[in-house]
Amino acid sequence: MKTDTKLLMLIVVFGLIALAPLLITQESLLNIVIMTLYAALLGQAWNILGGYGGQVSFGHAAYFGTGAYTVAVLQVQFGINPWIGLAAGGLAAAAVGAFIGLCTFRYGLRGSYFALVTLAFAEVLRILSNSVDFTGAGVGLLIPLERSAANFQFLTKAGFFWVIWAMTLAAFLTVWKIGNSRFGAQLMAVRDNEDAARALGVNAFRVKMGAIMLSGFFSGLAGVFYAQYFLYLDPYIAYGAAISVESLLVPIIGGMGTLFGPLLGAAFLHGLSELSRAVIGDAPGISLVLYGVLLVIMVLFVPRGLAGLASHLRSGKRAVSQAEGGNDRA
């Protein structure tokens, strides 16, 4: 697909999604759309580092939780408006990304080791937030209810819809830009063969640092949204493994290193969990069992994700040659 076509498709898809609040009057249905966009944002954030950069992270909760706690703590402890908290949360998460990047990329950690260290960082943050007072420790933080748009607490779901729509669109436009830029080309070169990329003069450390900070920033935005939408946080919600898993599951199912993969993955996952709820009911754990089964199946049989499957079906021959070339995953 040409890059112009991709941008056009992106605008059309998000334009269609924008019709949702006009067509859907039922709040519970709109909630599903909101949560799907939110999952797409989380997944796209992971995709920048994991899909385009090839650095598989098991600890994206570190950024999500930092964004969420930043907006909540600023409001509860300092009375600062959550719209300011939105920017602060994204930047704080990017800073955590910079710190983790410095600690890992500087020392050449790659592959499974990088994944495990990111998990350990998220755990350290979980224990810290469980132990200090200003995060409310184990009890968590309750953001006081004051419904108004100026307070980032909308009266209707439609208000929240527009915020998450705009954030997710921003993330997707950023990734489109990455796929279309010198930085993106260098990032994918580092993913495909770091030694070769360095031999050609790519500063792998700087490129990966850029990716982890961008990735952290958008994860942090998702965290801010979560805090404002549910108005409650505790260490397990913010820094627990569930968020890290959801972050990586969405792009892996949709297609790592593709622009639309995270959206496909998010829609598929949420569709599936709604379906399982309708068929099996609210049995504890069952939808997560399905997630696990999907993860195993995708890695075993469809390593290029739904997006890869789609392009494979569209033109079988070309997809095969792309897979062999290995450098055009989009």
Partner: protein, 290 residues
Amino acid sequence: MPDSAIIIPSVLNGLTTGGLYALVALGLTLIYGVLHIINFAHGALLMLGLYAVYFLNVQFGIDPYVALLIVPPAMFALGYALQRGIIGRASHGRDENILLVTLGLSIIIENLSLFFFRSDTRTVDTPYSFDVIEIFGAFLPYPKVVAFIGALVTAALLWLLMSRTDLGRAIRALAKERKGAQLVGINADHVFAMSFGLGIACLGVAACLLLPSYYVNPQVGGGFVLIAFTIVVLGGMGSFVGALIGGLIIGVVEALGGLFLGESLGQIGIFLIFILVLIFRPTGLFGAKA
């Protein structure tokens, strides 16, 4: 500053806990040393083993230590099947893929357990659950002392198996030079699966020795995963001696961290060790230079 009357019992207690951790880590380090993969489902499989020991005790009245004859062989079979059927086919040339598949397996196992066993925390009643043994003025729980000795025996048995048997020789040959080992007639898929099975059988041993002094619920494995990884990384990936000593160190660190920083913050020491070792000495204390 607490005086030695508190510190010494705390260290001894940490050492016995460390023995349990070492048992869990032995299987992980065996799997890593041979297959060069990181088994993220290790904690979930330990939890499965704990449930097996629990139900054998509750349904059939089998003592956890007698279950040592049943659970480890069953876990071996499960590990063999998992490696042969799923994990061995997943890599597509990237180690991260195996990490992802084992993550998927752990999600499946944990949530199926949640579905079938509910989230209740269960313990077994044995006559010796609350017995204590006095060593250097410290009162140590009897089951923990047994587990500590069990860890040493298991490590010794593994070492014997690896150095004295044909299977051990085949495993080491494969770990060193895969193509060469296959050329002399070693069935790689079979031996890899045997290694994975052995690693999971270690978890079966750990489950039998752990349950009398511990509990089981569907989430119990999660706490062990990062601790076991830390031990393996600290001791050097693939080293049995390293896993044993790393386990003891981590046990003591946890006990002292809990003593000085409190229960919740005390755990942080383990993860900081993990991060620092991976950054500054990724080969661990006893690992070969890369």
